[in-house]
Amino acid sequence: MTGLQKLLNAAAALCGFYALVDGFTTLSPALLLAAGLVVVCGMRLSPALAAALPVVIRPQLDLVISLIAACAVLAALQDGMVGAVWGIAIAAWLHGWLAVEKTMADDADATGFNWVVSLGVPLFFGFWLLFFWEALTIGLGIPTVLLPPPSMIGARLVTSTAILMADFQQTFLKAVLAGYAIGCGSAFVVAILVDRSNFLRRGFLPIGNFISALPIIGVAPIMVMWFGFDWQSKAAVVVVMTFFPMMVNTLSGLSAASAMERDLLDTYAAGYWQTLFKLQLPAAMPFIFNALKINSTLALIGAIVAEFFGTPIVGIGFRISTEVGRMNLDMVWAEIAVAALAGSASYGALSLLERRITFWHPSYRTK
């Protein structure tokens, strides 16, 4: 074990020891078991034991202990967070850290893609974030209007699935996807036209710049006037928001090919379309994906905010604004969770696609 790992191990054992001493008579059996395990684990600091029984320093052991302790703490939360429970919670977290630390150290020399490190570590990190959120909100008795615990939000996600699905369908599947496709698609086509003509470049760039500077809270009511209350007006807001980033990025991308590469195509007497498809567009892909990724989050924000300005009685934005008024903050958080999941999933999907298509770019190259 490295110095940091020893330190983490010692700190965890101390926390467990404190919990045992402080709460020996009051703690539930599960908590006592957790504290006991943590203290016993402190014995791994002895080099003799580690040498005789190398299995005890495996990261899997830390993972199991941290999960057992975390579960024991979660189960005891309703009784309030006394000092001893805090000690076990912190010990659990320290063991989690220790497990990650050891896994990363083992992985440092490995090559290639490792699912445990690439996916497991972020998930584990998320778990601890939720754990302390839960522990702090319940343990400290924070009013749910200020910050509901994740378990309450999770319960809402399960019990109100039908409403959430309807909202997701209205806002994401209709407004966001349609607006995103129209906005990015038209900006792409316009960028290609603009790239070809200096006249259009002079005309379109200032207009695009102007539109992008329009405040969304000004545009949204106007779009409702133009396109009605339903999702079409939200899609229109998304089009306005996504158009400019896509156009500007595509334009930069189309001029990304070097002068030498253009000369090369000239020496082959290549036509406009051949140059476009064989040189300009492939070279533009990193720029285009940049815009697609920026727009994937912009579009979601645009559609949600646009629903604050008139909407049928369905949609993520509508639900957020009404449930806030009714003090149902758990529902608001559930909608936020749905939106965040949808946004992250589309961003992640675009990133994966980007890796596949622009594998040649210096930032993704593999020898």
Partner: protein, 256 residues
């Protein structure tokens, strides 16, 4: 005559006034010759090559490539051009980079494949067709770019300091290979360089140029034998020609 320049002039307008990139250039290059253009930077050697390739338009005089104006020659795909950098497209494999001109010229895919294989073999890149350019060394990349320029079988090869960025050893090796390629294919080669040994080693004719304004100061016909091992560079004949090139270069500078 493959190339015939007559009183060729090219002036660039810049903020500091007119720059005479080429002044009254007269030059004839016959079929099958290996001609080097040598001179210090700013002498217009690359500009001259770009005029032949119709990448620059002259402002005076006349130039004919295969008896045609350069633009027609370019549209007829009369030449292959090798740039200072390999300029390989990084999203295409070596094989698909070599087939790029063939795709643009609309050859059938069977024909493309057959030619690409032949070219890869010709420049000694067997087994590297499926690699991407960034997986290859600089010398291999430049060989791929030569293969690409040769792939559509133009009779004229224009090379703009193709080995300038490579180290001495790789450069010697590629010079040797280029000579063999030239002998094997019988193409006309126009080769821009600023290395005297490279020019003398490769060429049948050396055109010495000097800057401000860009002009030809000497044209030296080399009588070195066709068969040139690398150690020919130590023979008195070689050194004599190299000396003449050096004098030509110095003469051009004496004007400043």
């Amino acid at each position: 005559m493959v190339i015939k320049a007559d009183k060729l002039n090219l002036d660039f307008e810049t903020n500091d006034g007119v720059v005479h990139a080429l002044r009254d250039l007269d030059l004839e290059i016959g079929a099958g010759e290996f001609v080097s253009l040598i001179g210090p930077s700013g002498c217009g050697k690359t500009t001259f090559l770009r005029v032949i390739a119709d990448l620059e338009t002259p402002t005076g005089g006349s130039i004919a490539v295969n008896g045609q104006p350069p633009e027609q020659a370019r549209l007829a795909r009369a030449y292959g051009y090798v740039f200072q950098a390999p300029a390989l497209l990084s999203w295409r494999t070596i094989a698909r980079n070599i087939s790029l001109p063939l795709e643009i010229m609309g050859l059938s895919s069977g024909e493309q494949q057959e030619r690409v294989e032949r070219m890869i073999n010709l420049v000694g890149l067997d087994g590297f067709g499926g690699k991407f350019p960034w997986q290859l060394s600089g010398g291999m990349q430049q060989r791929a770019s030569i293969a690409r320029a040769l792939a559509f079988d133009a009779d004229l090869l224009l090379m703009d300091e193709p080995f300038g960025a490579l180290d001495e050893i790789v450069r010697d090796h590629l010079n040797e290979q280029l000579l063999q390629l030239w002998k094997k294919t019988g193409k006309t080669i126009c080769f821009v360089t600023h290395s005297i040994p490279e020019a003398v080693y490769l060429s049948t004719k050396i055109v010495v140029m000097s800057p401000r304004p860009g002009r030809i100061t000497d044209v030296i016909t080399s009588d070195l034998p066709d068969d040139r091992p690398l150690d020919i560079r130590e023979t008195p004949k070689f050194l004599e020609i190299a000396q003449r090139v050096r004098e030509g270069l110095r003469e051009g500078h004496a004007d400043d």
